[in-house]
Amino acid sequence: METVPADGLIAASWLLIALPLAGAAVLLLGGRRTDRWGHLLGTGTVVTAFVLGLLCTLQLGGRRVDVELFTFVATGSLDVQAGLLFDPLSALFVLLITGVGALIHVYSIGYMAHDPRRRRFFAYLNLFVAAMLLLVLGDNFVALYVGWEGVGLASYLLIAFWHERPSAATAAKKAFIMNRVGDVGLALAIFLMFAQLGTVSYEGVFGSVGLLAGGTVTAMGLLLLLGACGKSGQFPLQAWLPDAMEGPTPVSALIHAATMVTAGVYLIARCAPIYDATPTARAVVLAVGAITLMIGAIAGCAQDDIKKVLAYSTVSQIGYMFLAVGLGPIGYVAGLAHLLTHGFFKAGLFLGAGSVMHAMGDEVDMRRFGGLAPHMKVTFVTFGLGYLALIGFPFLSGFYTKDAIIEAAFDRGDGWGYLLGGLAILAAGLTAFYMTRLMLMTFFGRPRWEPGVHPHESPAVMTAPMVLLAVGSVLAGFLLVVAFPLEGWLAPVFGEPEAAEHVVAPIVVSVLVTVVMAVGVLTAWLFVGRREVPVTAPVRVSPVTRAARRALYADAVNESLFMRPGQWLTRALVWVDNRGVDGAVNGLAATLGGSSSRLGRTQTGFVRSYALSMLGGALVVAGALVAVTTG
């Protein structure tokens, strides 16, 4: 579908990015002067952006609008225009980012109230929102890349917000580096586009991607996937996401659950024309999704840190989304719908976790929680609704969107479809298990608090966003799948939905998923709910548990495969450079100096030895002359 030039309010959609960016600039440059009202400004810009985004979306009505801004870089045959593409897909993300973003900004006012650097926190959050909006609004791959690394920077700054803690600083660095590995893939994909097609705009690339050889498109798809894996914490680059929980909890909710980590899904959905042309790359997307889905679910079952459980859950849920978009046209809408509902309930769950931590003196170990339900009613109820939505309790958000993905997997119709569908159902059971375990360890049972902890409900400024997100968790699935189907809204992007031919009847899938979920809940109750939870983690556990605790040894693999050899290589090279390269140069200088001083020794200072050498020289010359003239 053709794009149309911008008109009306959409022509001003650059303000969506500019507003939070200006907020960040004012807060960072303004210094302490802005301490008193900084958080209000930060929240205000995002709320305004949300309103603007909503108005733009209402004006959009199924068109694809191109907003041209200025020439970013144009030299030779490369021409990169700074421009925005406002279409139904980006509109969805704009609403998610600014909507959830605004709620989390409000929540942060309360959560960060006692932090002396709250202003800075809001500046970074604003910076993140601006970069994320650029990522989803850009109309070419360079703008996407700028936003892509911009959110990486914001993520780095926010994970390291409490940078006095070495663990936070290290986690931030790890996140940035692993993201950069992915970024290399994205960058190379862009280079490949330019080399092959001479353009980096969405329109140009998608319009002529069909002309390329199959191998080239596959390479492009795989490189883009590498980028997506880095940003979205997918296998094999998943290890940074759980560590990123070192950041303040609102950050985990906004960046590492609801928005940034779903950028990979956006990228693959946006590049649908490329993946349509390469079944191979699409199959790899599918495989990555399926593998990550299981890794996340398994690892989530054995964590004791409440945020890490949620983090692995995020990894696993994004695996679902990758699985969905890897299925091709039948899965795009399902994946995006799950992305949206996940944005609601996972953000809600993280905010709830933050509320719990707030109450427990920043304790995160679930073995130190227990019996919190009566003390924190609002948190308990909102968290509970998020929990039910996540595990796919019938007629809540997750139920609709997760079922849609599983159905789409079965709809492939072949053996792989059954395998993937089966894995997805199994993971749904695991999800139910680990989330129920979390609920039981946190809100039920006997209190296992540290002495001196007095849990209390959080202030209204924190609970209000939680309530709104809980409402979203309950209703979003129904609204997006049943009431106002997302397929229709996204038709300008992915084409009109076809009447799906279901291999397995949807009702069968729903029942199956619900049963497996119930089994998961029951198992969790049997394991956790019935017995006393030990305050320290048991040491003597099965190898499976041990592997799950260490997230299937992802860190160990990274460490032994990359970090240690890298450190060794660095040390070796430093030695080579100092001793080898520089040594050769210094050695040359030393040789010259040495030989000159050795030659100098022939100058004894004795006149008569000089005279002898003169005589010898004269004789040699005379001899030579004689030889030449006579010979």
């Binding site: 970013f72 030779g76 490369l78 690394e149 803690r165 705009s201 995160v364 450079d577 140069v585």
Partner: protein
């Protein structure tokens, strides 16, 4: 206005200023630095005015001045700039006042007074302008060698503990390269005498002559060795870490910011147009050095314990990118390389400056002597971060534009080298973030502590994931007594602010700069036989956007 000899003025003003500063009576260091700042600002103004007078659509060389100098050998004192040289003059114009301001409170380390320091600085500026503005190969050579003298004294008289060693090493390396180049310059003259009947050193005349391929290769190598040492490319690089580490901060900024660019500038101005066949034949070997430099120097940077050495090694990696861009022979990559020359001067210049500010506080160059600076000096840490991010080419900073152009322009002609160099961006993130984390993050430690007390234990928590907000906030009270690291003073802010502003501005809107250099780049491309219109897409049908 265009009749005014801008370039001559830009050479003469700092030279006269240097003489004036040197002639000041002893003990007038205060006057010396004010005079130096004034003179360097005048040069900046001249550079800006020259840019205004420059017409991007006009002749290749503009603002020309030519006076016969040694008529017997056809040597002219000929000055003129194309877009590439002009942006380098602008870079010089910006960096020197910043450097003067940054050296405001420096104490001399040797016996020389700071008056001498500023005099040498101004003389260096004069020579640097000359080397970029010369359009006569002999004149270029003269300025090329003359630059060594002030730099030698800046390092040798005002540097760190091993300044003598570093200065001699710098001088010898450069001299060896320079002499090899002198041989090639003379060879070029002889060739021109054979071809044209009368020998000449004028760049425009030399550009037109056909040279035998074998001779071309030899002459190319003569120039190349000099420029590869200057730039520096691996394995001619080991002088730079020593010089960069021992030089005073101001000298180090100009050393990597401008002086080394003479090498890459020389590739572009002399190697490619004068010896196009040899450039094309030998490009693969140069690219091997370039990419090896990107990866090798990045790994080495990670292994350094001395901050200034680390920054020097990052520069070597960046020069690898520049060389890659130049020897890929596409308009996009070469434009990127030229931008890279400017942007690297700003970004790495700022990195050196901020490292210098940190060293001025702690008195040590060792990374291990610092820690947790961000807590006490957030502005300093912020500027450090901006410089670091520009060094790792984060989008939104100026370096991104140039690195992106270099890579995207090199990929169509040299995919393997480009892929390898792209891996370098991960290494860049590693070396920047490693040093940032070690010095700025974590609990305060090292020389910033008054007593070598125990560091505050990290917050306890399950699985190391504790979010101990309140615990951390209480930490300062519980922490041992420590020297407060002062945040940036207004003078230091005045040093950093223009650099940060340039980093962001050129990162967001680089197009004016691109338009300034593109005609010169296109001319160079047609000299070397590449298509100045840029890369042709391989697949049909791909339009521009």
């Amino acid at each position: 206005m265009s009749d005014f000899p801008w370039l001559l003025a830009m050479i003469a003003v700092p030279a006269v200023g240097a003489a004036g500063v040197a002639a000041l009576p002893k003990g007038r260091d205060g006057t010396a630095k004010q005079a130096a700042l004034g003179v360097s600002l005048v040069v900046l103004l001249l550079a800006v005015l020259a840019t205004v007078a420059f017409d991007t659509g006009g002749e290749r060389f503009q603002l020309t001045t030519s006076v016969p100098w040694i008529p017997d050998f056809g040597v002219d004192f000929a000055l003129g700039v194309d877009g590439i040289a002009l942006v380098m003059l602008l870079l010089i114009g910006v960096l020197v006042p910043v450097v003067v301001l940054a050296s405001w409170r420096d104490e001399p380390t040797g016996q020389r007074s700071m008056k001498a320091y500023f005099a040498w600085l101004l003389l260096l500026e004069s020579f640097m302008v000359g080397v970029f503005a010369a359009t006569d190969v002999f004149l270029f050579y003269v300025f090329f060698e003359a630059m060594l003298v002030p730099m030698y004294f800046l390092i040798g008289s005002f540097g760190g503990p091993r300044r003598q060693y570093a200065a001699v090493k710098f001088f010898l390396y450069s001299l060896v390269g320079g002499l090899v180049m002198l041989a090639a310059v003379i060879g070029l003259y002889v060739v021109s005498a054979n071809e044209l009947g009368e020998g000449t050193f004028a760049f425009d005349a030399l550009r037109g002559i056909e040279i035998d391929p074998g001779v071309q290769k030899l002459l190319f190598l003569g120039f190349f060795v000099a420029f590869a040492i200057k730039a520096p490319l691996v394995p001619f690089h080991t002088w730079l870490p020593d010089s960069g580490a021992e030089a005073p901060i101001g000298g180090a900024v100009l050393l990597v910011g401008v002086l080394d660019k003479v090498g890459t500038f020389g590739f572009l101005r002399y190697c490619l147009p004068l010896f196009p066949d040899a450039s094309r034949d030998l490009a693969p070997y140069v690219l091997v050095l370039a990419v090896a430099g990107v990866l090798y120097a990045a790994l080495l940077a990670m292994g350094q314990s001395d901050m200034k050495r680390l920054v020097s090694y990052t520069s070597i990696a960046h020069f690898g990118f520049i060389a890659l861009g130049i020897f890929a022979f596409t308009t996009e990559a070469t434009t990127g390389a030229v931008l890279y020359m400017v942007n690297h001067g700003i970004a790495t210049g700022l990195l050196f400056l901020v490292v210098g500010m940190l060293i001025a506080r702690g008195g040590s160059r060792q990374i291990g002597d610092y820690g947790g600076v961000a807590r006490q000096a957030p502005l300093l840490a912020g500027v450090f971060l901006v410089a670091g991010l520009a060094s790792l080419a984060l989008p939104g900073t100026n370096s991104f534009v140039s690195e992106f152009l270099v890579l995207i322009g090199s990929f169509p002609t040299r995919p393997v080298f480009t892929v390898l160099a792209t891996v370098g961006i991960v290494l860049a993130a590693l070396y920047v973030l490693l040093v940032y984390q070690r010095t700025m993050h974590g609990p305060p430690r090292g020389v910033l502590l008054e007593t070598p007390a125990e560091t505050p234990a990290p917050a306890p928590g399950g699985g190391g994931g504790a979010t101990a907000a309140t615990a951390t906030l209480d930490a300062p009270a519980a922490a041992p007594a420590r020297l407060r690291v002062a945040d940036l003073s207004p003078r230091e802010l005045a040093v950093a602010a223009p650099m940060v502003a340039l980093i962001i501005a050129l990162g967001v809107y680089p197009q004016p700069l691109i338009e300034l250099v593109e005609p010169a780049v296109a001319a160079t491309m047609s000299d070397v036989g590449a298509d100045p219109a840029g890369v042709e897409p391989e697949a049909p049908g791909g339009g521009t956007d």
